[in-house]
Symmetry: C2
Subunit: 211 residues, 2 copies
């Protein structure tokens, strides 16, 4: 896997969006697209698109536009969507269940292999074909299966307890729905936070500004 250390986080954050749009174009049978047409579709400027894609070595050919399939595949490689990393999900409450059922983990680079909850009443229930296990089995499961990514659908107090154990057990990436600040404590793991209540408050702010 090539490294892209010099690429800014804002470019990285736009890559999934490119990947989605290119995927749709590919599905529709489009073969080539100019940065101008791609910009009309995506709402970025053509110059921004050229700049963004240049960060990864281009892919375009002056006057011919981009070949959609190869650009799609290249961005997919950069994003690591074919990595098939073993992932576990901790917390099978409302949110955890929805994430397990709703997300297309496989096409995003992950293979969800285990689901854990502290509630014994859930043990053995199936979620997308995976049995919910009691959290007490976490250590043995990780030792035997070596997952590298954890999805945390638990409150911060629980995340604070489990994050150190998970790092110890070899987890190096967290999809973190809790408010526990993993990066502050483990700067060397990858963390992507989804703070739903912060997002809802941000919406509240923006709607207030319209009054």
């Amino acid at each position: 896997m090539s490294k892209h250390d010099g690429v800014s986080i804002s470019v990285i954050k736009r890559l999934p969006r490119y990947y989605r749009f290119l995927g749709e174009l590919k599905e529709n049978g489009t073969v080539r697209i100019s940065s101008k047409d791609l910009s009309a579709k995506m709402g970025f400027t053509a110059s921004q698109i050229r700049q963004d894609l240049n960060c990864f070595g281009g892919f375009g050919q002056q006057g011919y536009g981009y070949n959609i399939e190869s650009l799609y595949n290249e961005i997919g490689k950069i994003l690591g969507v074919n990595s098939n990393r073993k992932a576990i999900l901790i917390g099978a409450g409302n949110l955890g269940k929805a994430i397990a059922r709703h997300m297309s983990f496989e096409s995003r680079g992950f293979n969800l292999i285990g689901i854990f909850d502290k509630n014994e009443a859930l043990s053995g229930q199936m979620l997308r074909g995976i049995p919910i296990r009691h959290i007490d089995g976490l250590y043995d499961f990780c030792r035997d299966n070596s997952p590298t990514v954890a999805v945390l659908c638990i409150p911060s107090s629980a995340a604070e307890v489990f994050a150190p154990q998970l790092v110890e057990l070899g987890i190096k990436g967290f999809w973190n729905f809790s408010h526990y600040d993993i990066s502050a404590h483990y700067p060397n793991v990858a963390v992507e936070n989804v703070h739903l209540s912060d997002s809802l408050m941000t919406l509240s702010y923006h709607v207030s500004q319209l009054d």
Copy 2:
């Protein structure tokens, strides 16, 4: 509601985080805090905290730090968390159900008053004390109840159909879990996007960089 047009989006995005941390301090009975101590807790620099809060007129007193309760209340006002805006949720699939059950809408400024789905089999089922209604009743419900915010837990193809209708029916803020780009079509409504699959791909990228 006072307007804060000159405040950058990155400051706004940090406000919910301040609000959460100050809420915890308040719960714990802390009365005052210096920007230095707040910075140690939150992982921002003290100077950033002073700059951020100055955007809204300060609240601090040199040498005395911030009064937590009044700062909490002021940020809450800016965020509009006491606005009690009527909200509806469209799409009671896995994700919609989880969002309805999991989120504390009331403490974030919203009053969830209606839930809609196109699946007739769901009609009448209760979610957090609210009956799921068939989507055909959307027009009458909005006319009678005047919600101003919509939570979209539907695919983009459905969002593309319903966004125009909802704007027409008086919706001026969207919490958008779909990939449909509402802002591009309705620049005058407030939109907060939650793109879970983009977030998951961003994590995939960051984990790849560790290999």
